[in-house]
Point group: D2
Chain length 379, copies 4
């Protein structure tokens, strides 16, 4: 809802690219969770501009301040407030766009909607807002670790036309370039890096695809009909800056398969019911089936170019925007922790909603022997 995401695990972000900073308030976090502040900062650091030449030259430490909701190292059940001050805001850099509408940015639409806009660095439409999401996602991950076996891994599957053609089994980023582009295959990462750098040198930009895999799932997560796990993920992903497409499991490739190919056959594996294939992406009828949840997210090329661009000013007069400012020639690598973060918040929220309504004891014939707990929360 507006600037709040979630039903029970709810976070509200505020702040702008060149205002005072970026904040987030996280509500609905259970009491007693050990707040691993170093982990939260690590997650933020993954999102931060890096030191390689393929990311923006804006320097920010992105160090958070914890404002509320904690006591003796644990969450208290009251809202967690976080604040990350802007440090390297150079608003003067944006004077040239104060009256201009940059193509494929949110300048024109914010003006049309709100009557005016904070033009400095895109204001609220800047991807700097995602700092709040990464913090919320870090808290969500801490909670998932504490109460479930769920793990989330995202990586860059494609940059421009350079594709990784398989799902990694090891997500470690062993080389500098795989670190820089967030692709675990060193060879493909190297080619991706080169492609981004080519675009950068040409004053141009490229997009790509992030893939994500959630393992350690249990069956039963997601709510029919309007809080389906896939629908919630789709919303969370499409709401990330520059995203143009989302697919779950087989996604668009399902379209030219026959049903006899696409169906995931059930098999028994020990005590568990599993599927032989996973075209469903771990979700059937909007509810997890215990297989890995898999999805892919398409990012458009960065709208800002480092070359002169023809456009209009607010009065509709043609102008030429110079190619200046600080930006990423490809946002995809830095979006990996954002994809994971949004995924984590969706999973936690649905998990809390699921728990709220799940009373296995209602099925017990012998009330004295009931166990209100689901079997899926970790011992």
């Amino acid at each position: 809802m507006l600037n709040t995401e979630g039903r029970i695990f709810r976070f509200t972000t505020f702040g702008e690219s060149h205002g005072e900073g970026i904040g987030v308030v996280i509500d609905g976090v259970p009491a007693g969770l050990a707040l691993d502040l170093a982990f939260i900062q690590e997650e933020l650091d993954r999102r931060k501009p890096g030191t390689s030449r393929i990311t923006t030259q804006r320097k920010e430490s992105d160090t958070f301040q914890l404002l509320s909701g904690h006591f003796e190292g644990k969450t208290t059940g009251t809202p967690l407030g976080f604040w990350v001050p802007n440090e390297n805001a150079r608003s003067k850099d944006y004077d040239h766009i104060a009256r201009a509408f940059r193509p494929s940015h949110a300048d024109y639409t914010f003006n049309a909607k709100f009557g005016f806009r904070d033009y400095r660095g895109g204001g609220r439409s800047s991807a700097r807002e995602t700092i709040g999401r990464v913090i919320a996602g870090a808290v969500a991950k801490l909670l998932l670790s504490a109460i479930s076996s769920i793990q989330i891994n995202a990586w860059v599957q494609q940059i421009h036309s350079i594709k990784l053609d398989h799902t990694p089994t090891d997500f470690a980023l062993s080389t500098e370039e795989s670190m820089a582009v967030r692709c675990p295959d060193a060879e493909v990462a190297s080619a991706m890096y080169e492609r981004i750098d080519e675009a950068r040198r040409a004053g141009d930009s490229v997009g790509g695809i992030i893939a994500c895999q959630v393992s350690g799932m249990f069956p039963g997560l997601g709510e029919p009909v309007y809080d389906k796990l896939d629908a919630r993920l789709a919303s969370a992903m499409m709401g990330i800056n520059a995203v143009k497409g989302v697919e779950i499991g087989s996604g668009f490739s399902a379209v030219d398969m026959f049903g006899s190919e696409h169906n995931d056959t059930f098999v028994k594996e020990g005590d568990h019911i599993r599927t032989l294939t996973n075209y469903s992406g771990g979700i059937q009828g909007g509810i997890s089936n215990g297989e890995n949840v898999t999805f892919r997210v398409a990012f458009k090329p960065t709208a800002t170019l480092m070359r002169p661009v023809d456009t209009l000013d607010e009065a509709g007069n043609p102008i030429v925007l110079p190619g200046k400012g600080r930006h990423d020639p490809c946002v995809v690598p830095r979006a990996v922790p954002i994809v994971e973060a949004m995924c984590a918040t969706v999973l936690v929220d649905l998990l809390l909603i699921h728990r709220a309504k799940t009373f296995p004891s209602l099925f017990a014939s012998d009330k004295g022997n009931q166990n209100n707990d689901t079997p899926y929360f970790l011992p």
Copy 2:
């Protein structure tokens, strides 16, 4: 939220495939809207099983009863209740799946989540639930007609490997086969029809893609950050049964474009600011820019096959499901009105939210001359 969709324009569906019927309660509808009941029934009829051999043989008139919220032919501002009784429920047909988990259906996940399930025809997970969505969408369309110039058209762009390679300019369905498959190009429709029928004869099934275009848009619809127009559409589409992917504008094809190709250049057209291309799909920063909103939705092939299928029962024992029951060998054609309906409800909800917070008068220096109205509501 669970079985309710929307913030202000909110609809709640209830009912199951083989229970008493399907209902929907629509709240947040402005008072005074003329309720064109014939139009609502026409929309339902578009969703209904047709007479061609490529749809399910279940016969339902899908005639709605209007239960509340109207007076003298107009909405009263109180909730509209609608009810569509099930007529042709043959629950006996489902005895063979009472203890079976059909592959790629919601049988297993509903059981895992809720402890048991209404197995008759899929119960609540059946696409019959979308009757409620189509009714809500019809009311949303009536409201859009009354207060805006917005129009929504969806059509079948692809069935299996048969593609329509352009965006239609005329959405009329002139032939029986284009009616049957909901593709306005008669020639392509004929090939699509044939492909579906081939699958049907083989006891198999196929999927496809529905494209949708919203015209008559105004700039400013959609809410940063967590009620973006594209995010809301993605959620609404991914929540439709059998959907595996959603893309806005350029979608996944943006991935291998350069920014210099993908940016939509602004141009002035009379008093309006327009864009030369529309890779953005009419949405920038989550907010409409006045261009047509365009998106595409991928549907997997129907999970039910008319051939024997290996699977497991609830105890995990292998069984063979016979290929029987009534189903669509391809759900895509009948999903066209559902895509339009969900799109309409999203647009109306965001429009009401936008209106709630939009006071152009706040910008007026002369308070005596203000006009609280946005310029975008139709005279």
Copy 3:
């Protein structure tokens, strides 16, 4: 929100006094709850016009139809739909008020808000809408019985100036008059009955106070800061037709007490921490403390009088309304099950929210020994 109440346990009512009927959709009910339909009907019967002369002469069987959400006698976790058709709607009786604004009714305000109104019997503003609340409350009570020890008892504490001066210990209604006025003290009930009948004979009306006590509570229910148990109860009660005041525990009588008198001293009783007095009404800081939750609700006298009344028509012209129609000279007795029902829905909703966020295991040093269950759900 508008016509929906609750966060997780959410019910949406629809329908009007003289439309087709009254419906309710209840979402968020856990799967597996045995649906005791006879109990639900009994609760409805408590709300129904009685046979005594002090209630409205409108005859309605108020027999519900269950439309969805059940299978083999249990809830399925999907929405429960209920429908109660109107049987004795005599809309002609209301022709005389079609253009009139009845004093202290919602006629004028509905017109002002919505532009027009369904004037027949008050339309949506009629207390007939509370049928939906009583059904939702009955389902909530069934759930409370199944998963907790919570019990809710409301009774009539005062009618006009006739007061019951103590809290009953036995809520049985042993005499016809105590049945009729819902006051367990036979002597006081008799005086109350007489007072109502006097008002009726004079074509006048009276109000009163309903008291409510929730026993079997556990400490911890209610959410700081904006879903406090007392705030939620206050909202639920003030939203009942004709209510003008709500007080919790000591209520307005706290005003002229000193803190040294009003504080509830803690004492140990076995393993439990209790309080010596209960001026807090079982709620401290918005959260239950395990003592009985107690509150009182003030009802104004019925606005409809059986005598000629001076008022205005829609054009603002003075008119005289004749004293006719069917109504209760005192709504208080029939509101007792409504107070209980609204109380039950609040408690269940907060209980589910509480459960969603409560993981005692987070505090366990030994993760292998944790128990995710709260101790307060019944074995």
Copy 4:
């Protein structure tokens, strides 16, 4: 919902009494509102501990920092973030209650709910949290001033047994004591002041009643059935710390009136329909009728006493709490701006919801001549 209040105009508070500070994020504020920061600070100053001896000796400047949502002096339509650092937190003062349950405080209930608590100054249950509400209320008041004629005045009607027996016509606080107790009648204020001071000297405390009047209303505000204006006000008031009762209009005094006395007769006054009396408190059927909205709120005496108090520690052992710490012997005067603030946020939220769904043009026969505006927003 938890720590967020409102549907469209939504504010989320965070922070604790002795943590880093108190914050609030306000979402849903229309763009273009001139942010009168001095006014916001003035409102905060009204809530702040004063200089008189009848308020707490905790010294706080309560100076806010504006963190987001503004540009060139106006709101941008994005969330406003505010932060008020704690300055005079002396947490050591609370060591004596670290393991104690203070009677009629939230110590025990927070522990029971969350497993532990931030005991310093009551943590999140402290009335210091209301700083966030007063800021949200100040923004709401600015918006009401800009788009409506609505004005809100609250005052102290009663302290312990000292009552103001009429509704003031002038709300100016002319004397030091009327300033201190927030009662506009100098003589009554003097007696109230004395009563509070007596209690203070005795180490005791007193409660009281705050009355509130909203003038400049228009008919039509409030949503049947579960967002009634009176229900929303009741929830907002009952959620304020120490409140035990709320009544609208006649309130509990309606109970022993006859309907013939209580009904508010309609009269025509120029073009407006008014009522002769206002027992309804300006609300009928949950919707404003244009008369002044009036309500009264009962506060219990402060739970903290400046004398030794018998109570229990966390282990259930009896202890004696010394009478120390900093507190108000009567919270009522400082709660006046809080009552006004909560009232303002409710009115703005319902006003935005109302606007969202109100399209008078739907009733126009001539579509070319419609005016989508309601007549009630100020020119």
